[in-house]
């Protein structure tokens, strides 16, 4: 039940914000902040309660809730949480809190409706991470999409309409393919067993004719790799990221991309294990292409947010490669990458937002030497660019090291190619630092260093990325129980 409450708190908070939008009172943002914070506290409580038990043999699902929704179609409100979900929902609420905080000053216009959309997106993402009913999953998939579309469309930058449409069409195209696959699965299972249900746990055992199974899997796969994104389906991402408001970019990079990875891990691999293994070589290949292609694109960009967006393409390439290595070490690396990329890239987008607030541009050729004016922000930027290029002692290193270490056991050639990503990431990261923070000072007017609120945001992100780098075992243990499952690992 607690899981339902978490989602309801977000939904209700959002509606409350909208209702208050006429008054345009400062209470709106406090309500939004409170809603996410309550969820964060609830979740921390769950972690403390169940975190210990995870290492003991208590089964994978620590919390489960099921009630009928539309019983005639076999649709139920089935939500559950295992280690994987716990980690991702934790990330959702953590970044969600920061997303509200970054919007504090940035959003003046139609604040009530803005926070409504923000909270509903978060609710949708939370739902996606806990839904165990495929119809419910699809429902939440749409819930997170539409408000995000509105966030970009209404509060975005100059080119926001184009970016919002592109984002919507790409995601929706994938979503529809997934819907077809879900329906196909539903009918095949129903015809076989006589019970028509969308329940994940029941559908797991479905035997499907190989020729059909491949296509059903591809429906899921395409939806997820568009979200991930995989080259060549990544084109919505640079536009959406660069035009979205800061909180939008943070949620896109930190959370929305992760739903793609989550979907592959939760649905594609367990439902279609054999067929997933068949496409593993291709998936890894496209992952590696993404690593290199994204990095090369990032190197060429002059728009700060676009540059960071392309680094996401590169980092998500590691995720795709790691998942399809089918090795426990690599899969743990993938989980780490999901979290640490969310934090580090999210932080870079937050920084880009802060810079844009001060200089009113995203063009890095108009920046330079900002360290002289803002040493504290420069220090934070240095930390997160270093995280992004995989410096050990920071979380991203653990992720990429484990992915590469695990993938090497499966396919040395691809691993070596993906490792060149480490060199490329240095190229774009240091170029970013050089153009923005180093070099001769080049600011049109005096700019202030970070404020107290901004300090809190950056400090929270910095501390977590360092802790993840030094004590990753806490996360590895939580996810480990799920990952070591035979569904994800081919021994």
């Amino acid at each position: 039940m607690i899981l339902i409450w978490m989602i309801i708190i977000l939904l209700a908070g959002g509606i409350l914000c909208w209702l208050l939008s006429k008054s345009n009172s400062p209470a709106i943002k406090w309500i939004a902040l409170l809603a996410v914070l309550i969820d964060l506290v609830l979740l921390l409580n769950i972690w403390l309660q169940h975190g210990q038990g995870l290492t003991a043999n208590t089964g994978n699902w620590m919390i489960q809730y099921q009630s009928a929704w539309i019983p005639s179609f076999g649709i139920s409100f089935h939500v559950a949480m295992d280690g994987l979900s716990l980690i991702l929902v934790m990330l959702t609420f953590f970044l969600g809190t920061l997303a509200v905080l970054c919007s504090w000053k940035e959003i003046e216009k139609r604040a009530g409706f803005y926070y409504f959309n923000l909270l509903w997106t978060l609710a949708g993402i939370t739902g996606v991470f806990v839904a165990l009913d495929l119809f419910l999953f699809y429902f939440f998939w749409e819930v997170m999409l539409v408000p995000m579309y509105l966030l970009i469309l209404i509060w975005g930058d100059k080119n926001r309409r184009y970016a919002a449409y592109k984002f919507f069409i790409f995601t929706q195209a994938g979503g529809l393919l997934m819907l077809i696959s879900i329906l196909a699965l539903y009918f095949i299972h129903g015809a076989q067993s006589g019970t028509y249900t969308y329940d994940y746990l029941s559908l797991l055992g479905t035997r499907i004719d190989p020729s059909v199974a491949k296509w059903i899997m591809m429906g899921f796969m395409i939806a997820f790799v568009i979200k991930l994104p995989m080259v060549p389906f990544h084109n919505w991402l640079p536009d959406a990221h660069s035009e979205a408001p800061t909180a939008g970019s943070l949620i896109l990079a930190g959370l929305l991309l992760k739903t793609g990875a989550y979907g592959i891990i939760r649905f594609v691999l367990p439902l279609f294990q054999q067929y997933a293994a068949d496409i593993a070589w291709w998936a890894m290949l496209f992952g590696v292409i993404g690593v290199i292609y994204g990095a090369m694109m990032a190197f060429a960009q002059t728009d700060l947010k676009r540059l960071i967006a392309y680094t996401s393409v590169s980092h998500m390439g590691f995720v795709l490669t790691g998942i399809f290595a089918f090795r426990e070490i690599a899969m743990q690396g993938v989980i780490m990458q999901i979290i640490t990329h969310g934090i580090s890239t999210g932080a870079l987008f937050v920084l880009a937002g802060m810079i844009k607030e001060r200089l009113h541009t995203r063009d890095i050729s108009q920046m330079g030497g900002l360290w002289s004016y803002m040493p504290a922000m420069g220090g934070a930027a240095m930390l997160f660019t270093m995280a992004s290029l995989g410096l050990p002692a920071l979380g991203n290193f653990i992720a990429e090291f484990l992915i590469l270490l695990g993938t090497f056991q499966a396919n040395p050639t691809f691993t070596v190619l993906a490792s060149t990503g480490l060199v490329f990431s240095a190229l774009y990261s240091l170029r970013l630092m050089q153009k923005v923070f180093l070099g001769p000072p080049n600011a049109p007017h005096k700019v202030n260093d970070i404020s107290g609120r901004e300090f809190i945001i950056l400090a929270a992100l910095s501390i977590s990325i360092v802790l993840l780098g030094l004590f990753p075992q806490a996360v590895l243990d939580v996810a480990g129980k799920v990952i070591s499952n035979k569904l994800y690992v081919i021994r």
């Binding site: 060429a300 070490i329 240095m382 691993t415």
Partner: protein, 629 residues
């Protein structure tokens, strides 16, 4: 005992944290006190640790402590564990001791800089990272230190970031070493696949059982690790970053060249000697690379005009000697040369920094001159360092270590006459460019007015290092002279003793040849730059000599080559595809739909007549279909 071990890297780390978080609010004196204090404290602990190690060596041959479990996934386990044996101890001592002297010197050198705290914070982190590198018990932790060193060198080379050239130099250092690092990481993956562990003691135990000597897989592993070492240690062909790294403040150069960073590769090869020994091919490659590097860099050092660039090339060349020694299997000789080199190279950079500072940031040696009498203390200390670099026999530390390297390049199992000749040539070149440097800077007429002389904070480290540059070699004598082998006794607890090939007669004769080479280098330097300067003038008229000088001056055109091979193609391709060609496909789909929309919307023109015609055509079509089918 075991807990104090963790204090050695923890103290510099604490210094870094305090200075980076609060440094801007602290007064400069306190910043210097913290910055230099933590390193000095670490040095004292290291010395105390060293003494207790020598008095009562631990049974296992190493002090070790596990701080916490870092990662544990499936069969992959690694901890935050420190492991200090005799080899690590030598490095820990040099890093903390020389590091402390450099920090004390910096307190004076950097006193007018507005980013005083940032400087000490980065320096502290540098020392911390290097300590973790040499104290690591597994390769992942070693890699952490390894990359940390890379980060700090980047921060410090680009310390004066407002000049674009400095930032570019910093980037270059990071990029090139990253290439090596990545190769090394791949080596780790391969090693893990083979042995199932990355713990250094376990690797040393398992490797000889698991690998057959000279098998392709061990050769690949050793080569990949060597590539990592070559990046950090600036060995050909990954040496080009080091001369540019001069962009940082002089104490940074001293730290990079003497105590940290460039010696990381030497440590790695020595630490992983078990793997290298299993691959004779890679051993030979190591030796050849060392020999090539020492020659190539030496030639470049002969013609440089920037005082720090001369020293930079000399570092590359001296590290080349270390690689040569390691490659021929003279492990302890390589580490010994690192040991003596640390003192005299730190000294030379610090003294050069003092000269540059007093001459109002003048770097060109030909704008210096006559400093012998103006700056006597700097002169005498510099002289001690230069003598050690040139390896003047018996009175300098550099002689004792270089003599060993030369001798083993010939007589060790992996040695051969060719390597020896190159090394000998290198000794001649070293003596030549050192003499040139001394004569041009300190003799002759004064060309730039001498400003403020260095204060006591700066001169004290110079004096201590000068004494060590002379005396540090006395702990290890050539075995045909005196039977003092304290150093090799210590490190050979870890490293295997050198295996000599069939006995080469009369070591003394070869020593004599080396000494003659050194002195003739000094003499030629004296001849060209003091006695008869007209020879140089006449060379300046000879096209061939001018070309050769230019070739050496630009570091054998490596930069130009890399520009053509890598930089320009990469920039070209990325710029070409800046708009993302894949986006064009989607734009194409969009415009296709727009065009179709244009075609079909003609049918919706709002006139009833058109619609009626449309309906009629439809009816006829359906009827026709029914008739046909």
């Amino acid at each position: 005992m075991h807990q104090t071990l963790s204090l050695i890297p923890a103290l510099p780390l604490a210094g870094f944290l305090i200075l980076s978080l609060l440094g801007r609010r602290l007064p400069n004196r306190l910043v210097a006190l913290i910055g230099a204090g933590v390193i000095s404290a670490a040095a004292i602990i290291a010395i105390w640790l060293g003494i207790s190690f020598l008095q009562a060596p631990p049974d296992s041959g190493a002090y070790s402590v596990e701080l916490w479990r870092w990662m544990s996934v499936a069969n992959f386990n690694c901890s935050f564990s420190l492991h200090v044996d005799a080899l690590s101890l030598v490095f820990v001592f040099v890093i903390t001791f020389v590091g402390a002297l450099i920090h004390i010197y910096s307190a004076g050198f950097m006193k007018h800089d507005r980013d005083y705290a940032r400087f000490f914070a980065s320096m502290n982190l540098f020392v911390c990272a290097m300590l973790l590198l040499v104290m690591a018990d597994n390769l992942v932790l070693l890699y952490l230190g390894w990359e940390g060193v890379g980060l700090c060198s980047y921060l410090l080379i680009g310390f004066w970031y407002e000049t674009t050239a400095n930032v570019q130099a910093a980037n270059k250092a990071f990029y090139i070493t990253r290439v090596g690092d990545t190769a090394m990481a791949i080596g780790f993956f391969l090693l893990f696949r083979e042995l199932g562990t990355l713990d250094i003691p376990a690797i040393q135990k398992l490797a000889p059982e698991h690998f057959t000597s000279g098998s392709p897989i061990i050769t690949a592993i050793a080569l990949l690790l060597l590539a990592g070492g070559m990046g950090k240690s600036a060995q050909v062909p990954l040496q080009t970053w080091l001369p540019d790294a001069m962009a940082g403040p002089s104490p940074v150069s001293a730290l990079i060249h003497a105590a940290t960073m460039v010696t990381a590769g030497v440590y790695l090869v020595a630490r992983m000697h078990v793997l290298f020994q299993l691959s004779p091919l890679v051993m030979s490659i190591t030796a050849v690379i060392g020999a090539l590097t020492l020659f190539i860099a030496g030639c470049s050092a002969m013609v440089q005009t920037d005082i720090k660039r001369i020293l930079a090339y000399s570092t590359i060349s001296q590290v080349g000697y270390m690689f040569l020694a390691l490659g021929v299997g003279a492990w302890s000789a390589g580490v010994f040369h690192f040991f003596t080199h640390a003192f005299f190279k730190a000294l030379l950079f610090l003294a050069a920094g003092a000269v540059i500072e007093s001459l109002h940031h003048e770097h060109g040696i030909f704008k210096m001159g006559g400093l012998k009498n103006k700056m006597p203390l700097v002169f005498y200390t510099f002289l001690a360092g230069a003598a050690a670099l040139a390896a003047l026999p018996l009175i300098t530390a550099g002689f004792f270590s270089k003599d060993q390297v030369l001798w083993y390049a010939l007589s060790a199992n992996g040695g051969n006459p060719l390597l020896w000749i190159v090394a000998l040539l290198g000794a001649f070149i070293t003596a030549f460019y050192t003499t040139r440097l001394m004569l041009v800077v300190f003799w002759g007429t004064e060309k730039t007015h001498v400003g403020e002389l260095p204060g006591r904070l700066m001169t004290l480290p110079l004096v201590i290092l000068a004494i060590l540059s002379i005396c540090a070699g006395f702990i290890e004598w050539p075995h045909n002279m005196l039977h003092i082998t304290l150093f090799s006794d210590l490190v050979q607890k870890v490293l295997p003793p050198v295996v000599e090939a069939e006995p080469v007669p009369s070591e003394a004769l070869f020593q004599l040849i080396a000494v003659v080479a050194t002195f003739s280098g000094v003499f030629v330097g004296y001849l060209l730059y003091r006695k008869n300067t007209s020879i140089i003038e006449s060379w300046k008229q000879t096209p061939a000599m001018v070309w050769l000088r230019d070739f050496f001056y630009t570091g054998w055109k490596f930069d130009e080559l890399y520009n053509i091979l890598f930089v320009r193609p990469f920039v070209f391709i990325t710029q070409l595809n800046k708009q993302d060609v894949i986006d064009k496909i989607y734009a194409g789909i969009v415009s296709l739909f727009q065009r179709l929309n244009g075609i079909f919307s003609v049918s919706q023109d709002g006139s009833v007549r058109t619609y009626v015609i449309g309906v009629l055509i439809g009816i006829i079509f359906i009827l026709a279909l029914q008739l046909i089918l």
